[in-house]
Symmetry: C2
Subunit: 152 residues, 2 copies
DNA sequence: ATTTTTTACTTTTGTTTTGCAAGCAAAAAT
DNA sequence: ATTTTTGCTTGCAAAACAAAAGTAAAAAAT
């Protein structure tokens, strides 16, 4: 293979990128929990170590799943934004949620489940679009005019 | 948390179970590549080490994602079968496939992509059902009459 | 303008998970 | 009865992950 991927299988190759303990958790925190800066992530109760966080953010940026922007009037803080490539993992995250609700409550009775999960399950495509739109609206403030002209 | 799960988040909790390097690959090999015995897995080109394979199979069995059966007339070979809990990960695997096709071909141009992926994307629920049915038909031979009476 | 705090990391030092190679006992095939 | 196959386990090296501390630059407070 000799390009870092285990095989030619699309599933295995996807997992070669996001199939570790933290990548999808980071992406989920961005998409659903308003996390956008380095400290946002460190303040989550799902405590990821800062060294791993730094390396995962770098790796995900390298694959174009997220990108860093500087907010205007602050040269220190970085805002991490999901790209289209990252946002297109939304269906994967949704299906993991459905599976969790159906199958792992027996091991973990205290799962925090959205009350509207049944609705989401019946309207997957629509709900997925709304999640992505909501994200983009929330994050629009961080996208400078000059960025907005480029394809994300 | 104190039950082995990182948080109450359904996504994170699903990843606490199948979010490692090999679990979903093993499940994929069972569902799509006819792997059913220990040596079947070891003969795959996605070479998983036997110690890890053994520990993952044990772990997945513990979570009820797969189960072991003895084929009639052979007391040595074990057949590993996906349960309903395992089969219900099919949508996750499908979405990973779609993401792969759309987003990682640029890093991995030689992906083996099914010619019918576009059809699958437009008929997700139907294709998912067919995949599961096909799996069950293929594996029916290993399910003894006595097992078949119990819920899978 | 100087000090303090915040932010975004890096470094160090373990520990755990993964990977490789070999070994092994029971069952099946010859 | 001997050889091969099957389903693992064991021992050790390498890589990933984790906890804690440290650091340098920017921002905020004084």
């Amino acid at each position: 293979m000799e390009n870092g991927f285990r095989s030619q299988c699309p599933i295995t190759s996807a997992l070669d990128i996001v199939g570790d303990k933290w990548s999808l958790v980071i992406i989920k925190q961005m998409l659903f929990e308003e996390k956008a800066t380095f400290t946002d992530f460190t303040e989550s109760r799902e405590a990821i170590a800062t060294n791993i966080l730094a390396s995962r953010l770098k790796m995900l940026e390298g694959f174009g799943i997220l990108r860093k922007v500087k907010p205007p009037r602050n040269r220190k803080t970085n805002i991490y934004l999901l790209t289209e490539k990252g946002l297109s993992l939304t269906p994967v995250l949704m299906e993991l949620t459905f599976w969790s609700k159906d199958q792992i409550q027996e091991f973990h009775p205290n799962l925090n489940l959205d009350k509207q999960l049944d609705h989401a399950r019946k309207n997957k495509a629509q709900v997925c679009r709304r999640i992505v739109e909501n994200y983009k609206e929330r994050m629009a403030q961080w996208i400078s005019v000059v960025d907005a002209k480029k394809p994300v």
